[in-house]
Amino acid sequence: MIVFLARRLALLLASLVLASVLVFLLLRLLPGDLAQVIAGTQATPEAVAALRERLGTDRSPATQYLDWISGVVTGDLGRSPLSGASIGGELAEKLSVTVPLAVFAIVLAVALAVPAGILAAALHRRRAGTVISVVSQIGIAVPTLWVGLVLAVVFAVQLHWLPAQGFPLDGWDEPGRALESLVLPAVTLALAEGAVLLRYVRSATLEVLHEDWLRTARAKGLTRTQALLRHGVRNAALSVVSVLGLQIATLLVGAIVVETVFNLPGAGQLLVRDVGNRDLVAVQSEVLIISAAVLIAGFTIDVAHRLIDPRLRGAR
């Protein structure tokens, strides 16, 4: 286990370094110039050049990379040259919306997908199973954007149960209203993610249904349901946990769409805005922190995998 952990940690660090280089280089390929964006279309070319020098965007890419990464390593992400705001502070503020949204959504998605997926597998030859499959297929096909708009129209505009958009002005200082404003976005995300997850749960369960050990369990006198719940679910959980790890990344992409539809001041919106403004100094730190979060989640899932599956514990 120790060797496994050490090996896995080294891999994590290498991935982080690689991610930082990739993020830095890819952003430099984007056409556009922050100095011109700041100065606008009325500014003189001399003023733009002066600004470029002040921002340091006229330095060599290597110098800029080292300057940035040494700040990141020491925990100082610096300030956005455009807004003057602390990049770390702003990202933390936005993540205080996005992280609860993502957690809320993933919990809902699991609560929805796991029972429905097992049921769909158990009943796969019957009509009910087919109905669940078809519904999940529709869930995958319908765009998140549209689901969000429809939910907003029904539950906010018509029924006035929940806010149509936005986050309270005082944020989490109004916990009730803050939670309320996350309900529709989280349901929207959960429907999309849950539909995908349901497919995996269903096929993983179907697979274990045909395993020899499940037949043995039934031969020992367990009913099909008992065998499935006692032995099948734990085995099926292995592949589902791996899929969940992968879904964290797609969840972030979904969050960008949902934050736009519901106008939530989250990390997705922040990224879109900063990329649009070519505020590369801010974007590269934001992307790196988010990639780190995904990589660390992957690492955690790997470790969790080991803990769930005793067969893997001895392996390296």
Binding site: V37, A47, G84, V157, T260
Partner: protein, 503 residues
């Protein structure tokens, strides 16, 4: 492009659903407004589309900053009233010397900064010298090009001397360059110490900006206790927010989204004009568009009335001047009138056939702009390839490098005809006669003389087909019943909310 269109289609579908649902649920009968009873404790919420990237007017460009900060939080010596007339703000009065080379301003003795300290001539001198500094990166530095010096003969008097007469100087003073900061002010990116009727209470980045009434304001105080600007870039989210009661006013709304409000008793719609000129830019210095016959053919091939009708708002302009500018001349709309047959003839004369042109356009504009132009040009045998790019890319390729053939840009700034007198501007249009007319207009002794010269310049620009002008700005504002005092004109560039109120 097709993915984009698909999203728009879906959005339209959901809007239709909203429409159908609201029209049957909104007649609660209580819409007899009690107008005129402004509640002094009210908070009025206004939806805006674009958020400022910073609050620092001295370094960061963008109409989103001017829109909320000018007049409300910050003021200059002069400002403009609802009819676009230049009127005093921090100056109570001013005198222009007969030679037009010196301006003497008397400061309003009651004027204070939000920290309570009086506004002095030293503050004005400090603020203006920052703009004039050779290393200054003020986006509106050009407004002070003719300034020779700024001095303070006494504590409440400011004298500005010019190197040359400048008929646009007082107008420039009403914009950003003229804003007065407290001497030594810092931290402008996220805090303020202005002189206007509102203080900045809170800026929640990515969501909203809240202004609160400045109780010690010297003049007429703000009617509402607070004005909250909520930044909602997506039109459908804004619609839902308004219909569910979160928003009191929406301005510069896409005309396609107006119908649900037109048929809803709870809202009124206000119409105004704006300084915007929707320009089809030509690269005058390279490729097929170097030939004036090709440019004229393109102008004749595009039906501007049809464009305004299918977009849903706008006015005909015909030249580089919006109806809000004093030198607007309606007769320019008759130059190169819509005539596809004549366009084809001109193209044949120019010896071009099977012309293929690229149209580079920033992706935040409605896709209809580019699609309309492309379909009209197709009728006369010109194939247009639309390149929709992010604004930062547009700035780089089109604006800075002039690496383009056609582009569509909303030139929102008022009184910006000088762009057509600058051969380095992205149009790369170089006509010495126009440049002289614009320069002479700057030196004109009277407004009438200036306006006459600029009318001649505008006519020449149009006759040279330096650009095509799809439409001039029109603004629709949706107000919840009882909301009053919302400005009518040019609300995207300047939004004075001192009189905004609700019952």
């Amino acid at each position: 492009m097709s993915a984009l269109r698909r999203l728009t289609g879906l959005a339209a579908l959901s809007l239709a659903a909203t429409l159908a649902l609201t029209s049957c649920g909104s007649d609660d009968g209580d819409s007899t407004g009690n107008s005129g009873r402004a509640n002094p404790d009210a908070t009025v919420t206004v939806r805006l589309r674009l958020e400022p990237t910073s609050l620092d007017l001295t370094t960061v460009a963008g109409a989103a900053l001017d829109q909320v900060l000018l007049d409300n939080v910050y003021q200059g010596l002069l400002t403009r009233d609802a009819d676009d007339k230049i009127v005093p703000a921090l100056a109570s009065d001013y005198v222009v010397a007969p030679d037009g080379l010196s301006y003497t301003f008397t400061l309003d003795p009651e004027a204070t900064f939000h920290d309570g300290s009086p506004v002095t001539a030293a503050d004005v001198v400090w603020s203006y010298e920052r703009v004039l500094d050779p290393t200054s990166t003020n986006p509106n530095k050009a407004d002070f090009t003719k300034v020779a010096s700024v001095t303070a003969p006494d504590e409440k008097t400011v004298r500005i001397t010019l190197k040359q007469r400048d008929s646009n100087f007082t107008y420039g003073l009403t914009n950003r360059a003229g804003v007065v900061y407290k001497k030594g002010a810092t931290g402008l990116a996220d805090s303020e110490n202005g002189t206007g009727p509102f203080t900045l209470e809170k800026w929640q980045r990515g969501a909203s900006l809240t202004l609160a009434r400045y109780e010690k304001y010297r003049g007429d105080k703000a009617k509402a206790a607070k004005v909250v600007f909520r930044y909602i870039p997506d039109d459908n989210a804004a619609n839902n927010a308004t219909l569910s009661g979160d928003i009191d006013a929406l301005t510069a709304l896409d005309p396609k989204l107006l119908p649900p409000y037109q048929s809803n008793q709870d809202f009124t719609i206000q119409e105004g004009v704006a300084s915007d000129k929707l320009v089809l830019g030509f690269n005058n210095s390279s490729g097929p568009l170097k030939d004036v016959r090709v440019r004229r053919a393109i102008r004749q091939a595009i039906d501007k009335d049809g464009f305004i009708k299918s977009y849903g708002e706008g006015v005909r302009i015909g030249g580089p001047v919006a109806p809000t500018d004093p030198w607007y001349d309606k007769s320019l709309t008759s130059i190169d009138e819509y005539d596809p047959a004549a366009a084809k003839k001109l193209l044949a004369e120019a010896g071009v056939s099977n012309l293929k042109l690229s149209l580079t356009v920033a992706n935040f504009y409605p896709s209809l702009y580019a699609e309309y132009v492309a379909s009209q040009l197709e009728q006369v045998g010109i194939t247009v390839q639309i390149k929709s790019v992010p604004f930062a890319s547009w700035l780089d390729s089109v604006y800075t490098k002039a690496d383009y053939q056609l582009s569509i840009v909303d030139h929102a700034e008022a009184r910006d005809i000088a762009n057509w007198a600058n051969p380095k501007y992205y149009f790369r249009y170089d006509n010495k006669a126009v440049q002289k007319l614009v320069a002479d207009a700057g030196l004109a002794a009277t407004d009438a003389e200036r306006d006459d010269l600029l009318k001649q310049a505008a006519k020449q620009v149009s006759e040279d087909a330096a650009s095509d002008f799809l439409s001039g700005g029109q603004i629709h504002t949706v107000l919840r019943k009882g909301v009053e005092g919302f400005p009518k004109n040019s609300t995207s560039s300047r939004l004075n909310v001192v009189n905004l109120s609700k019952p």
